[in-house]
C-alpha cells in the first residue's frame, strides 16, 4: 500500500479527515520551504502538497501566481524542489508528500528521469494540472514503475461517464476541484461540492479530497463533512506573503502559516466522527 493510501486508511479508522496544505517550493525563499513544511506537519498536516514553480501557471489565481513568480525569481527549478524533498525527508520519513505542478518541467527533465529522481528523493505522488487522462499514458507507466501515485483532478464540469475514465487512471486519492475557476477563487458552493463528491464515489473507492476556495476553519470544516480530505493552498501562501509584507522575518511568517493551519485543523476535527 502506498504511503498516501496508508495515511487515508489510518485516518478513516480514526474517523478523521485529511488536511493537505499546499505551499510552493522556493517561496518565499529556498531556505524557508523545508522549515515551513515541518511547521505545517506539526500544525496537523496529514499530507504535504509541494508546488513546483512554473513560468505559466494557467490554473492558478493571483496569490499562487505571484508565489510562483517569487520562487522563479531566485531560480527554483524542479531539481531544486526535489532537493527540498530530500532535505525534508531527513527529519520526516512518514508524512506523505505530493508534488503538484505543470507538465513541461517534468517532460523537460524526462518522465523516466523524473520518476527515478522523485522516488529517490521521497516523493509519494504527482499531480500534473495540465495532464488529463488522455495525455497521461507515458507518465503513468513511469510513476507505476517506481511505485508513485498519480493524482487526478475531477471538476464540476466533468460528466459522470468521464469520471470513471479518470478514476481508472488514478491512485492514492481523487482531487475534486470545488469550483469553476482558478485556485483561491471565492465562489464555494457546498451543495454542488456535495453532489460532485457523491458522483466520484459512484465510480471509485479511492478517497476524495476537495480543494480550491477553502480558506479558513469554517470552510474547511464544512468541506470535511462532505469529503475525505481538504486541500488548503492560497490562504496559506497568502498568509506567509502578508507576514513578510508587514515586515515580519521568515521565522514569524512560518509561524503565522502554522497557526492558520492549526486553526483549520481544529475546525476539521470539530466535526462529529
Amino acid at each position: 500500500m502506498s504511503k498516501i493510501a496508508g495515511r487515508f486508511r489510518q485516518l478513516a479508522e480514526q474517523g478523521r479527515k485529511a488536511l493537505i496544505p499546499y505551499v510552493v517550493a522556493g517561496d518565499p525563499t529556498l531556505d524557508a520551504t523545508v522549515p515551513l513544511m515541518h511547521r505545517l506537519v506539526a500544525a496537523g498536516a496529514d499530507i504535504i502538497e509541494l508546488g513546483v514553480p512554473f513560468s505559466d501557471p494557467m490554473a492558478e489565481g493571483p496569490v499562487i501566481q505571484v508565489a510562483h513568480e517569487r520562487a522563479l525569481a531566485h531560480g527554483t527549478s524542479l531539481r531544486d524542489a526535489l532537493a527540498l524533498v530530500t532535505e525534508f525527508r531527513r527529519d520526516d520519513s512518514t508524512t506523505p508528500l505530493l508534488l503538484m505542478g505543470y507538465t513541461n518541467p517534468v517532460e523537460r527533465m524526462g518522465f523516466a528521469a523524473f520518476a527515478d529522481a522523485a522516488a529517490e528523493a521521497g516523493v509519494d505522488a504527482l499531480l500534473t494540472v495540465d495532464l488529463p487522462p488522455e495525455e497521461v499514458g507515458l507518465v503513468n507507466l513511469e510513476l507505476q514503475r517506481v511505485g508513485m501515485d498519480n493524482i487526478f483532478l475531477v471538476a464540476p464540469t466533468t460528466p459522470q461517464q468521464r469520471i470513471g475514465r479518470i478514476t481508472g487512471e488514478a491512485s492514492g486519492f481523487v482531487y475534486y476541484v470545488s469550483l469553476k475557476g482558478v485556485t483561491g477563487a471565492g465562489n464555494l458552493d457546498l451543495d454542488a461540492v456535495s453532489a460532485g463528491v457523491a458522483a466520484i464515489r459512484e465510480s471509485t473507492e479511492l478517497p476524495v479530497a476537495v480543494g480550491f476556495g477553502i480558506k479558513d476553519a469554517a470552510s474547511a470544516r464544512a468541506v470535511a463533512a462532505i469529503a475525505d480530505g481538504v486541500v488548503v493552498g492560497s490562504a496559506l501562501v497568502d498568509c506567509v506573503a502578508q507576514a513578510i509584507a508587514c515586515g515580519g522575518d521568515q521565522g514569524s511568517a512560518i509561524d503565522a502559516a502554522g497557526d492558520l493551519l492549526q486553526e483549520i485543523r481544529q475546525g476539521i476535527d470539530s466535526i462529529a466522527s
Binding site: 518541467p105 517534468v106 460528466p159
Partner: protein, 410 residues
C-alpha cells in the same frame, strides 16, 4: 505499406491530421486542466457538425464576401520584383481585409460558432492587438459582449489598437503577470474561460492552444490558400514555385500553406522572428532554435530553458513575440514539408521600408519578416519562377514603432 505514394495518398497524410486525439504526429493534444475538458469536447462536436452544414458555411461565406471583402487580391509586385531581381513576387493581399489583417477570417468563423452554441460573451487574447481588434469588431457586428486580455507591456506598445478596441465596445484587460506579453494574455484568457466556461466562448487567435483550436483556426484560415491557389492558376497559368509567410503562432502561414501541401513541387518557407539574432536569447524563433515541450494546451516547439521554464522572447513585432508555435507547424517541420527560417529585426525593418517605398504598400512588421526572406529567396531564383508571399497585415498600427526606431517623435 508498399503502395506507391500517389498524390491522393499524400493528400490523405495532410488531411488526416489532427487525429481524433488532436495530434499532429507527436504534437498538439489537449494539455489543459480538467475543468476545460468537457468544454473542448463540446466545441469539437459542434464544430464537426457545423463544418458539414452547408447553411453554416454559407453564413461564413456571406460574411467573408460582404463584410471582410473577400476574395483578397493576388497582386504581382513587379516593381519590387525588378528591384530584387530573380523570381516574380506575388502578394496575397490579406492587408486589404476589413480590420487590416488575416485575423478576421478566423474571428468570423469562431464568433458564428459562439452564436450557434448560445454563448453571449466572448473573450480573446491579443499581442499586437490585431486579433483583439478583429474579435472586438465581430463582437460589435453580432452584438456579443467582448473582453480582450492584453499584456501590460503590449498595451503600452500598441496604444492605438487598445483605443480601437474600446471604440468597438470591447473591454481591454491589461495582464500584469509573468512577462506581461502575449503568452501571459493567453494564460489569463484561459483562467477567465475556466471561471466562466458556461456562458463564455474563447476565440483563440492563432493555430495554437488545445485541440480542437489548431484544427478549426486552420480550417477558417485556409480560405487564404484556396483563393491564392485558384488565383495563381487563373493569373499566372500555373502554381507558384514557393510560398512565404511569417510565423508567430502561425495562423496566416498555415492558412496559405495548407491548401498547397499536396502540391509537392511548391516549396514553403515559414519565417520566424529572429529578433536580435538567434545566436542571442533575444528572439522568438522556437522552430529554428527551440525544443519540443508543452505550453497553452499543446505539445509543440517552445523557447524554454533547461528547467522547462518558458523563456522571454523578443521581436520588434508584437504579433510574433510568442515563445511557442502552432503544433501543425512543428509536425510540418519534422516531416520536412515546410522549411522554417528567420529574419531578424533589422531585416524586417528594411523590408518594411522597401515595400512601402517601391510598391506603396505599407506592411505590418510581422509581415515584413516574410518579405525580408522573400527578397533573399527571389534573388536566388530565376525570372521564370514565381513566389507568393502572404501579405498578412497592413502596417498602420506599427508607424509609431517604426518612427521611434528611426528617431522621430510626433
Amino acid at each position: 505499406m508498399d503502395e506507391e505514394m500517389t498524390s491522393d495518398t499524400k493528400d490523405g497524410v495532410f488531411a488526416a491530421v489532427p487525429d481524433e486525439n488532436g495530434r499532429f504526429g507527436e504534437y498538439g493534444g489537449k494539455f489543459v486542466s480538467e475543468t476545460l475538458m468537457s468544454a473542448l469536447a463540446e466545441l469539437e462536436t459542434v464544430y464537426r457538425e457545423l463544418a458539414e452544414d452547408p447553411a453554416f458555411q454559407h453564413e461564413i461565406d456571406q460574411d467573408l464576401a460582404h463584410y471582410v471583402g473577400r476574395p483578397s487580391p493576388l497582386y504581382e509586385a513587379s516593381r519590387w520584383s525588378d528591384e530584387v531581381g530573380g523570381a516574380r513576387i506575388f502578394l496575397k493581399r490579406e492587408d486589404l481585409n476589413h480590420t487590416g489583417a488575416h485575423k478576421i477570417n478566423n474571428c468570423i468563423g469562431q464568433a458564428l460558432l459562439a452564436r450557434h452554441m448560445g454563448k453571449k460573451r466572448i473573450i480573446a487574447e491579443t499581442g499586437a492587438g490585431q486579433h483583439g481588434v478583429a474579435t472586438a469588431t465581430i463582437a460589435a457586428r453580432l452584438g456579443l459582449e467582448c473582453q480582450v486580455f492584453m499584456g501590460e507591456e503590449d498595451v503600452r506598445r500598441q496604444a492605438l489598437n487598445v483605443y480601437r478596441m474600446k471604440l468597438l465596445g470591447a473591454q481591454v484587460i491589461p495582464v500584469t503577470s509573468g512577462s506581461r506579453t502575449l503568452k501571459d494574455a493567453m494564460n489569463e484568457a484561459m483562467r477567465d474561460w475556466v471561471t466562466n466556461v458556461d456562458d463564455t466562448f474563447y476565440i483563440i487567435g492563432t493555430v495554437a492552444g488545445p485541440h480542437p483550436y489548431p484544427m478549426l483556426v486552420r480550417d477558417f484560415q485556409c480560405v487564404i490558400g484556396r483563393e491564392a491557389r485558384a488565383q495563381s492558376l487563373a493569373q499566372a497559368g500555373r502554381l507558384p514555385d514557393a510560398l512565404v509567410a511569417c510565423v508567430g503562432g502561425g495562423s496566416n502561414a498555415i492558412g496559405l500553406f495548407h491548401p498547397f501541401l499536396k502540391d509537392s513541387d511548391v516549396a514553403m518557407y515559414g519565417v520566424e522572428a529572429g529578433g536580435h539574432g538567434v545566436a542571442t536569447s533575444q528572439h522568438a524563433a522556437p522552430l529554428t532554435a527551440g525544443t519540443p515541450g508543452v505550453l497553452h494546451g499543446n505539445r509543440t516547439y517552445l523557447m524554454q530553458d533547461d528547467d522547462g521554464q518558458i523563456m522571454h522572447t523578443h521581436s520588434v513585432s508584437a504579433g510574433l513575440d510568442y515563445p511557442g508555435v502552432g503544433p501543425e507547424h512543428s509536425w510540418l517541420k519534422d516531416i520536412g514539408r515546410v522549411e522554417y527560417v528567420v529574419a531578424d529585426d533589422d531585416e524586417a525593418l528594411r523590408a518594411f521600408h522597401t515595400l512601402t517605398r517601391v510598391e506603396g504598400i505599407m506592411p505590418a512588421l510581422e509581415t515584413s519578416h516574410a518579405l525580408a526572406y522573400a527578397e533573399k529567396l527571389a534573388a536566388s531564383m530565376s525570372s521564370e519562377q514565381m513566389i507568393i508571399v502572404n501579405l498578412s497585415g497592413r502596417g498602420d498600427k506599427d508607424i509609431h514603432t517604426v518612427a521611434q526606431i528611426d528617431g522621430i517623435e510626433f
